[in-house]
């Protein structure tokens, strides 16, 4: 039984390292896309994806530190990323984010 526990523990550690490396690579590529991206919608999509990657980092950190206090943080980053993406999409489509009267 202790052998199995030890195996799953080391397996979890290796998985965490691989996931962190993958997210780091993804963040580096996304930063390149934000600087280079030919059009503005490309940059908007990259910013949204960076928010989702931040949620992944918070989840991995919660597993690594063995705590449940970071679950609220994941939800918070998701909501703020949604609001930011909505604002950027509305700016790209209409040119104004909060308009005076819609009808």
């Amino acid at each position: 039984m202790t052998d199995l526990l030890k195996f799953t523990d080391s397996f979890l550690g290796i998985t965490l390292i691989i996931c962190s490396a993958g997210i780091s690579l993804s963040l580096a590529l996304l930063l390149y896309q934000i600087i280079k991206g030919p059009t503005q919608p490309d940059r908007a999509v990259s910013l949204d994806t960076i928010g989702i990657n931040l949620m992944g980092i918070a989840g991995i950190l919660a597993i690594f530190l063995e705590t449940t206090k970071l679950n609220d943080v994941v939800l918070l980053i998701g909501i703020l990323g949604f609001l930011g993406t909505l604002a950027i999409a509305k700016y790209l489509e209409k040119g104004v984010i909060i308009d005076r009267d819609l009808d």
């Binding site: 206090k69 970071l70 609220d72 943080v73 939800l75 918070l76 909501i79 703020l80 609001l83 909505l86 604002a87 509305k90 489509e93 209409k94 104004v96 984010i97 909060i98 308009d99 005076r100 009267d101 819609l102 009808d103």
Partner: protein, 141 residues
């Protein structure tokens, strides 16, 4: 004039805004022991109001929420100062805090702390400042 097609945004906003307000109240009440507190709760509330502004426009939201958000700033600061000065009534230093366990009918035994009242002041101040900044930036045409 160009009319946007945002039926999905308008329909889901009426649901998402209430989820955001509930999450804000949870964050406000869960502070001082776990992640959360007045600042993040105020930020979430202003996020919900901002979502309504983005999907319905300024005039409609002014009819829905007839609050002058600038007056929330002195109300919040007054609550915070009164919470700090309230410790003089009990002959303890300025801004002392305490907590106790009470039994209420539905929830059973819960913990109530006086830091919660200070968080309430921070909450009102943050909501007022955030909405005022966003509206004065968006209103410049």
């Amino acid at each position: 004039m160009y009319k946007p097609n945002d039926l999905i945004l308008r329909t889901t906003t009426s649901l998402i805004a209430f989820i955001l307000l509930g999450f804000a109240i949870y964050l406000l009440l869960a502070g001082h022991n776990s992640p959360g507190g007045g600042f993040v709760g105020g930020l979430m509330t202003s996020g919900a109001v901002l979502l309504m502004y983005m999907s319905y426009g300024i005039e409609a939201v002014k009819k829905m929420l007839p609050i002058n958000f600038v007056t929330l700033i002195p109300i919040g600061l007054g609550i915070a100062v009164l919470t700090g000065a309230g410790s003089f009534l009990f002959d303890v230093p300025f801004m002392s805090q305490t907590f106790g366990y009470f039994t209420v009918p539905i929830f059973g035994e819960i913990e109530l702390a006086t830091a919660m009242l200070f968080d309430l002041g921070v909450y009102f101040t943050v909501v007022g400042v955030m909405i005022t900044i966003i509206l004065s930036i968006a209103n410049d045409q």
